[in-house]
């Protein structure tokens, strides 16, 4: 048994960096492997327009973050809404994860109940490793936010004869729109 050896720093990268890809593309490749959908927008305005088009007339439960205002036409409580509209705080290139903190104006039900989900993410939030992502989310703060979530694609199950089905208890379809950093 090793005695109080200092922690070995993580390599930081789960995979070999892929030549010619930036962090957003690396994250996107992983996220799409996990059956998530990703889109890129030049600006927040373009991202909002894309979200508006994806949602159409569907009922929405959304968070109160400023970038999400006036996108949806019809709102509904989370248990009834068809789509949830959120912002993510981080995306992790190594693992394909997208993460956020719950808190004021960011109810948990809206993050998990509707079967479709549209997420806006500023590209400044894309980091290389999970350790970086956790730090960015505040996991290492004293204390961390009471609830952090990281998702990797739609929820899934293979409990019946190993057949993979997407969308069990959490969203079945997830679109992430990554928009350019604030210049």
């Amino acid at each position: 048994m090793d005695e109080a050896s200092p922690p070995v720093p993580l390599e930081g990268r789960a995979a070999q960096p892929r030549p010619g890809l930036d962090l957003v593309d690396e994250w996107r490749a992983r996220w799409e492997e996990l059956d998530g959908r990703a889109h890129r927008a030049e600006s927040l305005e373009e991202a909002r327009a894309m979200a508006r088009e994806m949602i159409g007339a569907a009922t929405v439960a959304r968070w109160h973050d400023a970038p999400l205002e006036d996108i949806a036409q019809a709102q509904a409580p989370a248990p009834e809404a068809e789509v949830s509209l959120l912002v993510a705080d981080v995306a992790v290139a190594d693992t394909g994860q997208v993460g956020w903190a719950h808190g004021a104006g960011r109810p948990r039900g809206a993050g998990v109940l509707p079967s479709r989900q549209v997420i806006l993410l500023c590209e400044d939030g894309v980091v290389a490793s999970l350790a970086d992502g956790l730090t960015r989310l505040g996991a290492t703060a004293a204390p961390p936010p009471s609830s952090l979530v990281l998702i990797a694609g739609p929820s899934r199950t293979a409990d019946i004869e190993q057949r993979v089905i997407r969308g069990v208890h959490a969203p079945r379809e997830i679109d992430v729109i990554v928009y350019g950093g604030i210049e």
Partner: protein, 469 residues
């Protein structure tokens, strides 16, 4: 269901358990290969082992820190020395809140303490919300794999069950419809449950955070919507800091599914605060139940386990017999080690270490490098020392002496084939394919749960020397 396992019984369809398990194990092997392309597997295993060994070596100090940080974040901490105590604490918490309905997310630790039975006795309805667990619970069955509780069941059995529960007909081939039905039923439960009960994959002492990892989303719902969240964990699940936790958060899904992330990871630090609308109360129940007693023994490394399920799929014995054959909450190689280790004196579990071929595939698959095969041998020796079978030992010694000489081996192999062959072959002829379902006395006890081939009339080495002229 038939419990014959080695050879599918004739005139009866092959039991779903063998077919499903082989498919699941095949899938797992493919995923393992992909995991090894993603990371430097041996280096990652070593780092994961170091993180877990550090936690086990400093367990009392880390548990103390965890407890302090959970309390500082507003959570309550309860210590349970035994399984019964843990169940009583949780039942007490539910009773004190007038709880009628509990949303329960899959937890092997809850299985270990018999939580469902305890809640039922107390009149609290606890619904399993993991799809596989829900199916198993509604059937009155028990889970057979750490991660895939219903891996022993066929889609037809699930369709039949859901048909019975709903009064509608289900097509076993339409898996999506089966899943949609369960989603609908369980959604109602999440929205009305007073208490959510979950396990814990790891707890980070540094900040008092609980990490919950899953595919389906039911754990996130159980820890989000009810007013009270009760989290149950074995004390060994603690890790020192976020650097170690970040590594294990990737290693666990890599070992289970060949991917560096599970579909959903929830990190809970205390009850809801700062405008978060989650549970107003968080209770962490810390279960010892024999774990502290394993520290400092030659089985200590078993406490490093992160419950990934890899050793189960890797094990040729598990793949044939399935999880139920172990008769304990934890099955497969880790179950054969941890169950007798936790209950050192129990005669029922003392036999578990023999449910292995000692091939070592479990130790090789283990992402935290638990020497499971060595530990199985250690446990066998301990069981033998406690309850020596002197006659059996003498017989094996005599056999070893005889067969370590070629002449001795040849003489007995020929005699056995000649003496037993005719009787045995008669039974095999009845079966039509050389397999004997019931061997002649005195070997019939051995075949009550196995099929065997009849011994060759002519030993291999004789045929070999004839062929070579």
């Amino acid at each position: 269901m038939s419990h014959r396992v080695l050879h599918p019984p004739r005139a009866e369809p092959a039991p779903a358990i063998t077919v499903n398990l082989h498919r699941a194990a095949g899938n797992w092997a493919a995923k393992r290969a992909s995991a090894r392309q993603l990371v430097d597997w041996e280096a990652w295993r070593e780092e994961a082992r170091r993180v877990r060994a550090d936690a086990v070596a400093h367990l009392p100090e880390l548990i103390e820190r965890l407890e302090e940080r959970v309390r500082a974040a507003g959570g309550e901490v309860h210590h349970a020395a035994t399984a019964e105590e843990a169940a009583a604490i949780i039942v007490g918490l539910c009773r004190a809140r007038g709880t009628r309905s509990v949303a329960k997310a899959k937890s092997m630790t809850a299985e270990e303490i018999g939580l469902n039975e305890a809640l039922e006795l107390a009149g609290v309805e606890a619904v399993e919300t993991d799809l596989g667990e829900y199916i198993v619970q509604q059937l009155g069955d028990r889970p057979s794999h750490i991660l895939a509780p219903a891996v022993h069941l066929s889609a037809a059995q699930v369709a039949e069950l859901f048909g019975r529960l709903s009064g509608e007909a289900f097509d076993p081939e339409d898996t999506a419809a089966l899943v949609a039905y369960a989603r609908g039923v369980l959604r109602e439960r999440f929205l009305t449950a007073d208490v959510g009960i979950t396990g814990v994959n790891m707890a980070v002492a540094e900040t008092g955070s609980l990490v919950l990892i899953e595919s389906e989303g039911n754990i996130r719902l159980s820890a989000s919507l009810p007013r009270t969240h009760i989290a149950l964990m074995g004390i060994e699940k603690v890790v020192r800091d976020w650097t170690g936790a970040a590594h294990l958060m990737q290693m666990l899904p890599l070992a289970s599914h060949g991917r560096p992330a599970a579909a959903s990871t929830s990190i809970v630090t205390g009850p809801a605060r700062d405008g978060d609308d989650g549970p107003g109360e968080l209770h962490l129940v810390l279960l010892d139940a024999g774990r502290s007693a394993i520290r400092g023994t030659d089985l200590e490394e078993a406490l490093q386990c992160i419950r990934c399920g890899a050793c189960l799929y890797a094990c040729p014995v598990y793949r044939q017999v399935g999880g139920h054959a172990y008769g304990s909450s934890y099955s497969g190689p880790i179950g054969a080690v941890i169950t007798p280790a936790l209950e050192r004196s129990s005669p029922e579990t003392a036999q578990l270490p023999w449910m292995s071929s000692l091939c070592g595939a479990c130790a090789e698959a283990c992402p935290v490098k638990i020497p499971l095969d060595d530990q199985l041998v250690t446990l066998r020796a301990a069981a033998q020392a406690r309850d020596p079978h002197r006659g059996e030992a003498a017989l094996f010694e005599a056999w070893a002496r005889l067969w370590s000489r070629p002449a001795g081996y040849r003489a007995t192999a020929r005699t056995a084939g000649k003496a037993l062959g005719p009787l045995w072959r008669k039974a095999a002829r009845a079966s039509g394919d050389g397999w004997t379902a019931r061997a002649p006395f005195p070997f019939d006890g051995w075949t009550s749960t196995r099929d065997v081939r009849s011994p060759a009339g002519e030993p291999f080495h004789e045929r070999w020397s004839k062929r070579r002229g």
